[in-house]
Symmetry: C2
Subunit: 290 residues, 2 copies
Amino acid sequence: MEVDDLISSSKLVKHWPSLLLGLGLIWILKNWFFNGNRRYRDAGKSYSVENQEEAEEDDLEDLEDELQPALEEKPHVPFVPGQNLNPNGAKQFYELMRGRRSIRSFKSHPKPDLSVIEDCIRAAGTSPSGAHTEPWTFCVVESSEVKQSIREIVEQEELINYSQRMHPQWVTDLRPLQTSYIKEYLTDAPYLILIFKQTYGLSKDGKRKRHYYNEISTSISAGLLLCALQAAGLSSLVTTPLNCGPALRSLLKRPTNEKLLILLPVGYPKDGCTVPDLERKNLLDIMVLF
Amino acid sequence: MEVDDLISSSKLVKHWPSLLLGLGLIWILKNWFFNGNRRYRDAGKSYSVENQEEAEEDDLEDLEDELQPALEEKPHVPFVPGQNLNPNGAKQFYELMRGRRSIRSFKSHPKPDLSVIEDCIRAAGTSPSGAHTEPWTFCVVESSEVKQSIREIVEQEELINYSQRMHPQWVTDLRPLQTSYIKEYLTDAPYLILIFKQTYGLSKDGKRKRHYYNEISTSISAGLLLCALQAAGLSSLVTTPLNCGPALRSLLKRPTNEKLLILLPVGYPKDGCTVPDLERKNLLDIMVLF
């Protein structure tokens, strides 16, 4: 029997649609399982930097001996302790911070001096960050027009968030805080500070620099900012406007490596301003000694 | 022609394997695209709470009118501003914080009083959190044995991290900081503070309570902790021990809803301690005014 005969008389010709479909099926299943495994592996990782690692691994094929650190390699210098060593410092700081409350109702006047806001951001900028990448940008908005545009973007999204995106339990959990999609503070507060995390940086030659733990680092620096605002007698509110990030990033013309993390209105509380009657957990509920 | 004839003579019988495979193919493609879209949608979401929402949606089928807020619904109370309103407060706070440096070398004595650490954690506990869930646990370790066990766990994992898990660029970026897998500070420092984020809480009746934005909230509270330590004249180092979370959680017998976020050694720097010769970004590099 010739090869031609073998082919023509074989089941190959008769059942080729089945075979083709079968092969397609195998290919798809392979892809499907591969993606499935990949998802599973991602879920097991504790730190977001790992996911970035994986995503960026492909375009980093440099040899190890060509790699240069993002920071300059200089000799280390002696550490000079600050002038503020104070055995009662922690207690005094706690007394300062325990007076802080999240304020949802701001007066437009008096407007704090911009230099005070600048000092607060300088303080936030002393925050530690993964491999000293300082992966944060603080956008300070005092223009009424820009505040109005921000309010429109946020209220439009928040209406959808409250009515459709947020789980009913979430909306219920927010009820004691008396929040809604109406955000008067976005135009009333003399300043809005929008904190962007930089998911990566760019070196002078245009190469991407990894920003390790950029979300944790930027959140820690937001903590320092809150302390500075409190030290200056200013009030604020930590908000994380759901799904507004891209529109606000476009409005403020921030580059694509920056993602909105937190939006803070900043100013003085309105006269007669009220706050939820909350209690904080006791020390024994948040601290465990070993 | 009878129906039976129609069926037996039809192409249905002849080509049933192809049809079956075709149907299978359609089902798989449908699933594939559905998951693909789902991944796409997830990528567009800025906040991890949304993913939690989705994951937990299935086991929450309560009717909306049965839902109870996690917080009690009480009338709001007047806001009383703190006693610390200080026009120079932000500047003074910046002067305090600019002296902070990450310290990698601690002396075991003198050991700061535990009451100072407690005040620092009290201050961290005043941090705001999503829907006032306060999703944090601070484990304070002063026992030498527990510190030794922690060091063993961390060094074992860090050896693998440095040699295998971390991208060569990451290891290179850490070179100017002179870090390695050897972590003497884990046994030298008089205290270790392990900060756990609580990914969910449990109400009195054992039901899961959602902890919105628990990682951002806990990181902000870590920022407050750093400020309190600095106010007390204590030094620390923010570390995020890669892949050590589960083992350290087991060691400290923390429940499964708690995930290690940050580990801080706390104490006084060793005499002659040096630090990397780093500069911080200027205000103009981190702040944009609108």
